[in-house]
Each structure stands twice: as C-alpha cells, then as structure tokens.
C-alpha cells in the first residue's frame, strides 16, 4: 500500500484535500500497531501520522501536555516520568496482540481507539483525559475543539466524539491531555483460590469501601500461572496506590474487610502485573501452539464491557472460552477457538442485551463479515451515519473500520 507520511498539520490538510479531489479513501494510522483491530479498512492508500511527532507543550504544574498525534507513548511517558507524572488512564500497549513492535504506539492512536487500562475503574478512559485537539476533517478543513484547561464547557465537546472514533471522522494532528501525579507507591493484594463469582463479590466489596482501590482483576489459575503468580490457584488482585503510609493503612483496612489475602505484590512486581492485565498478555498468544507468533489469530479475542456483577455470569455462560476479568468484573477478556464469525453470535448471545462486546482480534475475513463493535439499534445507526457524513461526507477516512460502509 502506498502510504503518505505528512510531517506537518498543513501537509495532513493537503493530503486529505488531495484525497478528496481524487476521491481516494485513506487508511489512517499512527504507528499501525492496532491495525488488526476493527474491520479491515476499505482503502488502497495509507496516511500515517507517525512522522508528525513531538511534545509541543508540557506544563507539569498545570497538569497539561500537548503533543503531535504521531508522538510515541514511550516519548510522552518518559517526559512525564521525569516530572513524577503520568497518563492516569494507563494506556495499554496491545502491540503483542497484533504482532507489532511494542513501545511504538502513538498518542493519536491511543486517543482514536479510546484505550484505557486497569485504572479505567477510577481514573476514566482516554476520553476523560483529552482536553482538546486539532484535526483535519474529511472535508480537508482544519479545525480545533476544547482547550488546555480541565474545566471547560465552551461549545460542544467534540473531544469526546474524537476519542474512540477510530479515525473515521477526522485526522487528529495534535492532542492536549490532562496529566496527573504518579502515585508514590503501589501495592497489590492477592486473594487466592476464588472462583469468578466469589471474586466479583470481593471486588464489589472492595470498590464499595472507602479504601480507594485503583485496580481490581481476577485471573483463573491457568492464566495467573502464565504470569507466574498464584502458585496454581486463581488470583483476585486489588491494587492500592498513593502515599506509602496511606497504602499500608488501606491494605490493612481492606484485609480485615475481606479476609483471605495470601500474598502481596509491591513496586515493580505490582506494576508489571497490571501492565500485563491491561495488555491482555495472559491471552495474547495461543498457549497450545508450541512457539506461537504473538499475532497468531488461532483464537478470537473479545473484550466485553458489562456491569461489574455480570462479569462472572458471562464467563460461566461461555465455558469454552479462556477468560479473565478486569475493572472489578466490568471488563471481560475472552479467548475463543477461531471461527468464521469470530465467535460473535456466541459471545453476544451469552452477554445479552446490556453491555458492549468488541472483537479485538480475529482473522481479517472474520472481522470483515461480522460486527466487530456492538451492533447499534437503528435510530443510533442512523444518527451515527449522519455524524459521519457531517465530518467526512465523501467517506474518505478509514471507511468501514467501525461498521460496514462507515
């Protein structure tokens, strides 16, 4: 595929104007680490933002950072770490799911996919941290929205619309993010041997207490074993972050509320565990293959957002799936044997009406013939189509990435 690599916002504008003049649809990418997510894009030409790099503003005391869309997360995280700060929504790196190079994903890609890790539970998703952006719409027109301050209700909140739109409405050229202090310490309490239903109850009790849990996950014994924890038992993990004395106090307080804590992960071990949970490492590769390439789509991967208490129920309804829970049960990761529809019928039937099931990884054929994202009711589909037509009337930007024809 011929890929355009603009190195300025003006060049992005020109590339889209040219595409409009020539009616050439574009596949919009950052580093391309998540190209395997969503429906295959119906475009013969690429537009990569990877050349549009650099942090343009960072004011630590204002908790704000702006960067060009193609800036790598690694570069941003390094700058933030130097000031003791972080992106609180804990963006995961899914390169391992798709066989891409880890550590290369761009901030534009993260925002476009609205990705968030285990701290989503308390800190929100990427959408909640995007204060403003500059973009070029499918009309070839540059526009901006939002600002660089936390409290802003001036005009429509187009930042929310951009987060999670997978580059189908406009191409972001620069984003401004809210950043937050990095907690001074972290510790993870492990409860061993709970089944999913019991774990969901424990996690609900933990999150319903005033002990400020910032991560709550459950892994069955096999998956915990793959991360080298649990000693053969299922693991319910609860994370605490903050001042050392506060973490110690809350760990103890929760320990007396929910007895049975068997182990604790501190510091680096705690960080590594939650990174693995967010990156879907336990399910990233096929454990049955002898030396599986990371991108081996031998199993279809699903990420299902449900009410926390429904997490265990969904796992029980899909006994053939290998699964674990994040977000206190509200996020179910599922791996199913590969099938022609990516397992969509099974997963959506098991899930029922509520919640959102997303096919995160499957072969291109399965992704093209099934609804990767949760099907919408007709009124919502029509509204979303009108919005797409407003921003990208010629259908130039990532056509078909989210739903067929859009």
């Amino acid at each position: 595929m011929n890929v355009l690599r603009p190195d300025s916002a003006a060049a992005v504008e020109e590339a889209i104007a040219t595409a409009a003049a020539e009616r050439t649809p574009l596949e919009i990418t950052g580093a391309g680490t998540k190209r395997g997510w969503g429906r295959p894009v119906e475009a013969a030409q690429g537009l990569s933002l990877a050349g549009l790099r650099g942090i343009t503003l960072y004011e630590a005391e204002e908790l704000v950072l702006s960067a060009r869309a193609g800036t790598t997360l690694a570069e941003i995280e390094l700058s933030l770490a130097q000031k003791g700060q972080q992106l609180a929504f804990e963006p995961p790196d899914w390169a391992g799911l798709y066989g891409a190079a880890p550590g290369t994903q761009t901030i534009g890609g993260i925002i476009a996919c609205n990705l968030a890790g285990p701290r989503r539970l308390t800190a929100g998703a990427a959408r909640d941290h995007l204060l403003g952006f500059h973009a070029v719409s499918g009309r070839g027109e540059p526009f901006k929205s939002g600002g660089r301050v936390v409290k802003n209700v001036t005009g429509f909140d187009l930042s929310k619309l951009m987060a999670g739109s997978f580059g189908t409405l406009a191409v972001m050229t620069e984003v401004t993010l809210k950043v937050l202090p990095r907690p001074e310490t972290a510790a993870t309490l492990l409860l061993l041997g709970q089944d999913a239903a019991t774990a969901v109850g424990s996690m609900a009790a933990a999150l319903g207490s005033s002990n400020e849990v910032s991560g709550a996950a459950w892994l069955p014994a096999t998956l915990a074993g793959r991360l080298g924890i649990g000693e053969g038992a299922a693991v319910t993990a609860l994370r605490f972050e903050g001042l050392a004395e506060s973490v110690a106090y809350r760990v103890a307080a929760l320990g007396s509320l929910i007895p049975g804590a068997a182990a604790r992960l501190e510091g680096v071990a705690s960080d590594a565990f939650w990174r693995a949970v967010g990156n879907a490492d336990p399910l990233a590769s096929d454990p049955l293959a002898s030396d599986p390439p990371a991108s081996d789509p031998a199993r279809d991967l699903w990420r299902v957002s449900v009410a926390p208490l429904d997490g265990a129920r969904l796992i029980a309804a899909l006994p053939e799936a290998e699964a674990y829970l994040d977000w206190a049960g509200g996020l179910v990761w599922l791996a199913l044997p590969a099938s022609t529809d990516g397992g969509a019928a099974r997963v959506r039937q098991a899930k029922g009406q509520a919640g959102h099931a997303t096919l995160v990884r499957a072969g291109a054929e399965a992704r093209a013939r099934t609804q990767v994202f949760e099907p919408e009711p007709p009124a919502l589909t029509a509204l979303s189509r009108r919005i797409k037509a407003s921003f990208d009337p010629l259908g130039l930007l990532n056509p078909g990435r989210m739903v067929e024809g859009r």
Binding site: T18, E62, L121, D157, A204, A307, P308, P393
Partner: protein, 495 residues
Amino acid sequence: MKMPTPDAAIVARRREIADHLQRLLAPESVIASDEERRVYESDGLTAYRQPPLIAVLPSSTAEVSAVLAYCQVEGIKIVPRGAGTSLSGGALPLADAITLGLGKLNRVLEIDLPNRTVTVQPGVTNLGITRAVEHAGFYYAPDPSSQIACTIGGNIAENSGGVHCLKYGLTTNNVLGLEFVLMNGEVVRLGGKHLDAGGYDLMGVLTGSEGLLGVVTEVTVRVLPKPSHLKAMMIGFPTSEQAGECVARVIAGGIIPAGMEMMDKPAIHAAEAFVHVGYPLDVGALLIIELDGPECEIDAYMVRIEAIAGECSAVSCRVSRSEAERLGFWAGRKAAFPAVGRISPDYYCMDGTIPRRRLAEVLARMEALSAQYGLKVANVFHAGDGNLHPLILYDANQPGELERCEEFGAEILKLCVEVGGVLTGEHGVGVEKRDLMPAMFDEHDLDHQMRLKCAFDPDHLLNPGKVFPQLRRCAELGRMHVHHGELPFPDLERF
C-alpha cells in the same frame, strides 16, 4: 442580547397548539395562561426575561417523545428546562418556543450499589442522588454550588462541575448511561451500567450540549463510596498572587486535593459579614483546601501543604478540628454569591477558566479593567482548576450600568481566552457568551460544531439562539466543494 425574531405565525397559534398538547399530555401539564407562563420567564440569568409560548410538563419518556415529534412536524421550537438554575440563560424561553420542563420526571428508578450505579429520571436533583445512597455510605461526586436545586438533567445539559471536579471529574466523567429523545421523537439509549460503550461517544457529546441536541429522559451515574475522612484547611495570604503560587506548587508537588478554592479580599469580607465563620479579615486572599481519604494520608499531605504555604508567604493556617468546623470553612465560600448580593444592589457572575499560572496577570488586568469601567469586582475561584468567578458589582437602577457591566464581563472572558483559557468553565455558553464564541473558535471550528447540531436536529428546533452566534442553514453547512486542480495549497510539494 438579540434573540431570533419570533415566528409571528407560531405565536398566533398559541391556543391551537396548547389544545393539541393537551391531547398529548394531561391537561394540567400544559401551561398556557399569561400568569402561569410568567413563572418560566427566566432562569438563573435574570437579566433576561421572556415568557415562553407555552410551558409543558411531561411525566414520561413517551410524553416527551410525543411532544417533540409533534413540534418537529409543526416546526415549533423547544427549550428544555430542568430546575432553571442555569447562569448563562441556557433555559431562557423564546416567545415562539415551548418550554419543556422536566421537573415531573423526578423518580429514582434504580439503586444498584454492588455495581455502584444509580439510575434516575432527569428531574432528580443533584443532591437527591447523594441523598438516595448516603445511607449506604455512597455519594455522587460532581457538586455544583446549586446542587440542592439543580437537576441531573440540567447538569448533563451544562456538564456542571463544582468544588470536587479537580479530583473527581465533571458530570461527563460520571455518567454511564443515558436515554434521550431526538427532535423527531425517536428514543435512543446510550451506555448503561458498564464503563465503555463502543461506537461514537454520543453520551460525551450530549453532555454539555446545552439542550441543543436532544432531551435526556433517563440517566445512569456512577456513585462512589464516601471517603473515610474529610478535613479542610484555611490558609491566608497577603495577596492573591501568593495564594495562586501556593496552588501551583501544591499540584506540582503531586497532591490533588478534593477541593481547592480561593477568595479575594472583597469576597472574604462579604462572606464573613454574612455567615460569621471566623474568616481572617486582614488577608488579601484566602485558600480553602479540602483533603479526603484515610486520616494518615490527610495528615501527611497537610504537613506538606503547610510547608509549601509557608514558602509562599502564608500569614495564617487553620486546620478543621471537627466536622462542624470544616463545614464552617465552606459555609462562607458557598455563601459567597448571596453574600456579595448583600453589599451591592446587583452583581453579575462571570465564569472563565485560565491556565493557573496566568492568575496574577489576569487579576492585575482585571483590576485595570475595573478602574476603566468604574465597577468593583469580588473574586471567588475554583483555584485547583483555574476556574474564575469574578462577581462584577453594579446597580441595575443606574442607567447604562448593566450594559457597562456586560461589556466589562465580555472583556474578562476575552482575556481568559487570550491567556490560553476558555470562555466558560461550568456555567455554559447559553445566550450569555454566545456572541463571544468567535473569540475562541474560528469559522471552521464553529462549522464543525454546527454540523454536529445538524446531524441531531436539522431544522434547528431545539433551544435555538443559544451557544452559537448564528446558526447557518444545515444545507449550506453540508456543501463541500472539491474540484480537480483546486487544492488549498497548490504550491506545496505533492506526496
């Protein structure tokens, strides 16, 4: 303030429209008499008044849908309204529009504490949500000052914040699910009790859309367990600049307090005279910092903050020793607006946000403007997030003073934008800041926002005259001219 010219034909049909609405809703839910319509003639921005064509008070989603569908067919405008506490004229009626009051939709539908959610109708008050769950140790975090009266539906329309939003976010960060009605009467559900919904984030777009995109009929919010402890500290500084410096250093030091509020000398004096809570009167600025969490954490942070305050020349520092004392600290801050109302015949509350580090500069320039316009200003800030609330003191009975006050206010907001801030932090654009939108957005920016409006409401029937200086016809906004050889940058090298 210029509002769209009323459609005389619609106004002339008042009786007929009211009759039809009485067939869609219970007769007592349709308010068409001159006296009763007057009840709805303004919201919290009382400088502007206009009785609505008719007010209707639906009591179900089906009734809202029926009213909107009828109005769409007949080309009648709709102004949605919660409790009417908007400070930007967001619910200001139009002479040719139906005001759709959502106050009867006031039931708490479901409390689901294991999932930490509450589902309510839009007319439930913000504080009403907390009241529904506090017995179990939970609360709803966003807390606009009007929370005792304002409704959650109105909060969603305005994306209201409050003291806690630095740490706990605005309305938009706390809403999980919505049911809303499109102008054509279609009922759409978004989200639910789960965190991430796929598709375009229309919930995020509706939140803060000031009633221009749809009418919210049901809301699911997340509720949080109450922190185990709360303590506040009250720190006095010789000047607002020093207080501002302290705020910046606290945040740079890695501390995100639950709330951080500042008052300047005129505001302190007005508040103390009103509520007598022992505010120091010899300081130029007062900072109230609230911390929540385990006691050991609060105490550790307080030691750090006190040290930082010392470096910033603080002259006094008090820590609340009881819940009563903590509430006392807040009583003055929360009463600042009415307190200022006692020392001036009228006041006009502004609402802009700035990058915090520009505070000293903005205050100095505001003082110069104050001298220029001959009007005094009292300042209360949400200091943690740079959200300013200058209160301009004036006397509406003095000819020309209101106009002078409005010009002064506009200058302040433009100043906010000039230093990198925004026109409104939490009150909304409404009619108040509508004509200032071009100070922040260029034509392309506004066109893209208006196209979103067209996708939801192509005939501009929902709350027209608000937010945008002028609504352009959707057909005109939809056009796109692209021809071969006519590119915006003909001289740029091709890829």
